[in-house]
Symmetry: D2
Subunit: 198 residues, 4 copies
């Protein structure tokens, strides 16, 4: 894999037409500055996803403009920052995103996200989180939109060392491979001629 | 059922807060004036769907602002107006929207819509259309968004007598019953307290 | 609703052709005697489900012949009887089976069932359980098979008063209404004549 | 890819424990001799699929013991051998099984299969067939069962040169790659100890 970064403060947030055209998969993390992301860039990213680019949305990215626009729902949820234990259970052990994972992943300190999570029903649900405080959450959710694949992955609060966990890293790497484009015929839309005599 | 209409030319297109609050299910048909529909009204309708109101989108409503916003995709397709035969096959014969239908519905003259249809994969696919000119189309598509149910139904070009067909009428009536709200607990979002000691 | 019971010790387990023909929905509970259920009766129940009868499978019924046959998988899981707390979270708050439920149902003492649960991915997932011992479980699972609807509901160990809980009763009553048949055209199979000239 | 064949007349139909253990994906074609396939071998294949082996079922294999057992339904359909035209439309143009395909595949002479097709709703529907005689069919259907992936592909009557078509070959090759195992943790079932204090 070849990786590069793009940040909010870059021109066009670093997500120019040229950059997106070269990207197979985009990983999105954002938190308090979702509203600062340009609508034009969001629309551009949406077009690229519909044209086949994969999208992996992490944690607080649930409220990003790109995710809510692609989902069509509020993507709202309940939450709590209390330094508590999370355990992510694999419920689709044969799925490519679960390859090489243990039966569950334990994170001793994380932010809590709770159901109800206002998303479209995942086409495939890969992970469900258990929280010490008594809640559950759909933490690994797969979607197809246009020719692009989207994966939402819950963990990753900025105050905890979640992204140093090897199993978490494995989930993200697996998701990137799963979301990489597998292009069929470019869709042709608009007025069309009959293929049979009518 | 109690029914009423709302049209583009009415104030707020007839879709005021009060009207929507009293509506269990909204049926949407539109064609060339999608862009004249107010974004504010569209957002209001979206909120009501997420809060439980059913939505039945007919034919050229695939390009309406409300449908594309709830789907998150372009909802584009191919088409042809050639006065040709369509036959809709029931592929989910036990589904509530198929109740009382024959194995297929034949419409001797309709506009053609062809795959690829750029929608999220339907959660339930009830009907598939066969067209004389050689195409197929996913013509009866179910979705859940928030607490609301959405049904897209393909037939209904303004130049043909489709809505006088008794089986077509049955599909729409069934869809309204299926989409009527069945409210659970209103979702509570935001910061929350633990239910267990942590 | 009109209800009646059928038990293992009755002739044909009380599930004669005549009884099944009159039944809209069958609720199944079984535990240690699954192997004593006659294959002939199981096949008869399967045919009725495919023909439209609803089926609600409770708790240890996950290992019943009828459920494993309709699912095509082992339906295996992990478990523990330790008198522990279960909390079922509604993850589809607009679904008919969630109508009238709170955000979650707390059962102070239940048997634990843990993922992985070897079932086909539910077409709709309505409930997820949290367990005190650290596990989660997909506890409310919807399927369509033939013209029949199937709902699996996890709680209900014989040593705990689960079925006296009003919210649990509500889930089962909702599931029965949801699973009641909505018959479309009886499927016709076999050799068929063309509808168009070929 | 390394390929080998196994036929009905071989001992254990060529599907010994050793052969299955070495197989990543099994392609199944059968027609009039489904009943001659040993139940023991079918059960063995089912176990291997649940443990992760991919399964690609072709055409008249819809009535094979292994497919009906994994589906839990009759897998019945309507049919006609009339030398007619079939056109398979891609309805999931970004799916790995559609990679490199055209918008549709035309087969000038094939057997017809018609809806209703008594299968569980496909988790992903990749292809829909149009037939000259007026019917449609869900022709490319994806399922997950246990850790294994299953793809049903409709074309392939023994009297027509379907398997010499390059696009048909591409579908099968793509399906094999898609169905190849991606193993997660082997599921552990049975009595289990709590991970948290209860």
């Amino acid at each position: 894999m070849q990786t590069r970064t793009a940040t909010l403060d870059e021109p066009e947030h670093g997500l120019t037409e040229a950059v997106l055209a070269q990207s197979d998969v985009l990983i999105w993390w954002g938190h308090k500055a979702h509203h600062e992301v340009s609508d034009e860039v969001v629309q551009r990213v949406q077009q690229r996803v519909l044209a086949g680019m994969g999208l992996v949305v992490l944690h607080s990215g649930h409220f990003s403009k790109i995710f809510t626009r692609l989902m069509g729902t509020s993507c709202n949820l309940s939450w709590r920052v209390a330094n508590e234990k999370e355990r992510l259970w694999v419920v689709a052990p044969g799925h490519p995103i679960a390859e090489g994972l243990n039966a569950s992943i334990e994170l001793s300190h994380e932010e809590m996200y709770s159901e109800p999570f206002d998303i479209p029903p995942p086409e495939t649900l890969v992970l469900i989180s258990w929280f010490q405080g008594g809640e559950v959450f759909r933490s690994g959710c797969c979607y197809q939109r246009g020719q692009g694949r989207i994966f939402y992955f819950r963990p990753g609060h900025e105050a905890y060392p979640t992204y140093h966990n090897a199993q978490v890293q494995r989930v993200i790497a697996n998701a990137v491979r799963w979301a990489a484009p597998t292009p069929g015929a470019p869709p042709v839309f608009g007025r069309t001629q009959p293929l049979e005599q009518i």
